[in-house]
């Protein structure tokens, strides 16, 4: 069937609420407004105000209430409109959701799912364009997901709800309108493994979430010039699927990591470090990275485009990575 990323997310929530009466959705404007990004449109009418709860603008309050409700036997889906606003709830996410199981010596697990939009690219300027999933992926006790395909938009939520521990789902704002075919019987998917989105032999381009379509477009262009790129979609940012990362590097011997987060201390830094720690002798070229420029994301279109990763920058990084190998070979 034809669907969009937004509709697939909505179908996942509808399915979850039909399957399990403990599941409910709460967040800012998820009910009457239909969701800040219209993901939950129609769910209030279908499930009623007890299970689709509009909250006040109290990110710490309702994320913490989600943790408490999870402790009390519910299976909350908490929607934080965007990752930018989740900064107001970091205490609850980092100090409570991530720690309660450990601090309690295994007594209190927190089966909570928090969904939030992430990323830039829509001229929303610095306070509405953050990509902070890499920060949260730093925290033990959390599982971090980044769906980038219709299958994952449809399938990750239920698996996340079945996880006994807190799961954060980052939905890149540029993906909601992505349309395509989804199998009629599409259902839950694993949330453990990275996926090969395009097989290739010359260079591995490793990415996740909102930059996956960009990387696939870059891979097509590279193909036209004779560079066969393999595209890895990390899908789960914590815990990282080390096996998949090391396997692709062992295959292509070159890696470019694409991450909309800033380069310093980013998820791309972690991926790069793991490659050099565990697959250094597989490498035929230094690991390259395409990240956002180290500026608060600006408003003006040309400035924002220059700040964020782009198809051109991915192509250029891949070319350089492959070219460097040729140069080295030339010296030999």
């Amino acid at each position: 069937m034809k669907t969009t990323f937004r509709e697939a997310m909505r179908a996942a929530m509808r399915d979850a609420m039909q399957r399990d009466e403990r599941v409910f959705l709460m967040g800012e404007d998820v009910g009457r407004y239909g969701g800040g990004f219209a993901v939950s449109l129609g769910l209030l009418e279908e499930f009623g105000p007890q299970r689709v709860r509009d909250t006040p603008l109290s990110e710490a309050g309702f994320v913490g209430a989600g943790i408490g409700a999870a402790l009390g036997g519910m299976r909350p889906i908490v929607e934080v409109m965007t990752v930018n606003f989740s900064l107001l709830a970091l205490d609850q996410i980092v100090n409570n959701a991530a720690t309660l199981l450990h601090m309690s010596g295994g007594q209190f697990n927190v089966p909570l799912v928090v969904r939030m939009t992430t990323g830039g690219g829509r001229q929303l300027a610095a306070q509405h364009s953050h990509s902070l999933e890499g920060w949260l992926a730093h925290i033990p006790g959390l599982r971090i997901l980044a769906p980038a395909t219709l299958e994952d938009a449809r399938g990750m939520l239920w698996t996340a709800l079945e996880d006994p521990d807190p799961v954060l789902i980052f939905e890149h704002g540029s993906l909601y309108n992505v349309a395509g075919e989804l199998a009629d019987d599409a259902g839950p998917v694993d949330i453990d493994r990275a996926a090969v989105r395009r097989a290739g032999a010359d260079v591995s381009i490793i990415t996740y979430g909102g930059t996956l379509p960009m990387v696939l477009a870059a891979a097509d262009s590279l193909s036209a010039e004779g560079i066969d790129a393999e595209v890895i979609d990390l899908r789960t940012l914590r815990p990282l699927d080390d096996d998949a990362i090391l396997a692709t590097v062992a295959k292509t011997h070159r890696a470019v990591v694409v991450d909309e987060g800033w380069r310093s201390g980013s998820l791309s830094a972690e991926v790069s470090a793991r490659i050099t720690e565990s697959a250094f002798y597989e490498l035929d070229a230094p690991v390259a990275r395409v990240c956002s420029e180290e500026v608060p994301v600006p408003y003006a279109k040309h400035l924002e485009e220059a700040a964020l990763p782009s198809v051109a920058r991915v192509i250029s990084a891949a070319r350089a990575t492959v070219g460097q190998v040729e140069a080295v070979a030339g010296h030999a």
Binding site: G72, L100, D165
Partner: protein, 337 residues
């Protein structure tokens, strides 16, 4: 503030329910003696990290806990040894936790500030000021959504009322009419910052009432007043009366933590409040009413000391969690993460 009881009313109350008064006295003493021992053990380096004792404030936990049912929930702060003990967490498991031993209620992963116990629905032990309030709201939401008549009692200090999470939580609880009893332990100092130096409105019950939450101030040095107000508030919350807020006016006799030189308050002020020691006061009243004699007191102290001795002995003989288990309980055992 709830009107203080007259001497006649108090005497009548104690005479009508002497067993209950003696029991409250015993409960307060359990906390006092356990914590006095904790301070000694801290000085002996058996307990490490931060240690915040509740000495002076025991009437609050004793009175509120006696008003709760076993299936209710409790959320507390980092000054929670007394709440845990009076909620029913065994003294042995509390002491072993402070020793960092595997036999502790959190297998040595929480320590003094993070006591948890599933059996008694004791949800910590939260060491971020006001961080426990949203949790309490959520626990109450779960009860409401699942049609249970349980109450969640949430303890916090007056310092928490300057935090955003306090305001967000009271608003949410009132908006959704949730069964939370908010118990503010106003000991006048947020660490070293006096109430009037941190709050523009020092009438805390008035502040809470602005959220349409039924609110009262209570003499927190009087365990009978605490018990009475808590019982009424718990009944109201349980029967669908929405969240309630009680400000317990109390005082911490000891330093904020073991590292506090107490430069911010006068010795005379401490001495003034110590004259209102909730344990000495109730003991005196019971003795004056002829409801407690020397033998009775000796019997209470003997039992309490035996419990504390046993807890220390249990903790001393505890074992260390194996290092091989360091990474356990980061994720649930059935999770693959």
């Amino acid at each position: 503030m709830t009107p203080p009881m007259t001497a006649e009313e108090r005497a009548a109350l104690i005479t009508a329910r002497p067993d209950q008064a003696r029991e409250l006295l015993r409960q307060m003493l359990r906390v006092r003696r356990l914590e006095e021992r904790c301070v000694e053990l801290y000085s002996a380096s058996k307990i490490r990290g931060f240690l915040h004792v509740y000495i002076g404030e025991e009437a609050v936990a004793a009175g509120v806990m006696s008003a709760l049912r076993p299936d209710d929930a409790v959320v507390a702060t980092y000054r929670e040894h007394g709440h845990a003990l009076l909620r029913g967490v065994p003294a042995t498991a509390i002491m072993a936790e402070m020793f960092g031993h595997a036999e502790g209620c959190c297998r040595g992963r929480g320590g003094s500030m993070h006591l948890f116990d599933a059996d008694t629905r004791f949800y910590g032990g939260n060491a971020i000021v006001a961080g426990g309030l949203p949790l309490a709201v959520g626990l109450a939401l779960a009860d409401r959504m699942q049609g249970r008549d349980r109450v969640t009692a949430c303890f916090f200090g007056e310092g928490a009322m300057a935090e955003g999470e306090f305001h967000e939580s009271l608003n949410l609880a009132a908006l959704w009419d949730l069964p939370v009893l908010f118990c503010c332990e106003n000991n006048l100092y947020a660490m070293g910052t006096a109430l009037e130096r941190s709050e523009s409105q020092t009438d805390l019950a008035l502040k809470a009432a602005s959220y349409e939450v039924a609110s009262w101030a209570v003499d927190g040095m009087d365990v009978l007043a605490v018990e009475e107000s808590a019982r009424r508030a718990v009944e109201a919350v349980r029967s669908g009366g929405g969240p309630h807020f009680l400000e317990f006016r109390t005082y911490r006799f000891r330093a904020h933590s073991m590292f506090d030189p107490e430069r911010y308050r006068e010795k005379a002020e401490v001495e003034h409040w110590m004259e209102r020691d909730p344990i000495a006061s109730l003991r005196g009243e019971l003795e004056a009413s002829g409801l407690l004699d020397a033998d009775g007191w000796a019997s209470i102290t003997r039992d309490v000391d035996a419990e504390v001795d046993a807890a220390v002995e249990f903790a001393e003989s505890g074992t260390l969690e194996p290092l091989a288990d360091l990474a356990r309980h980061v994720h649930s055992e059935r999770s693959t993460a």
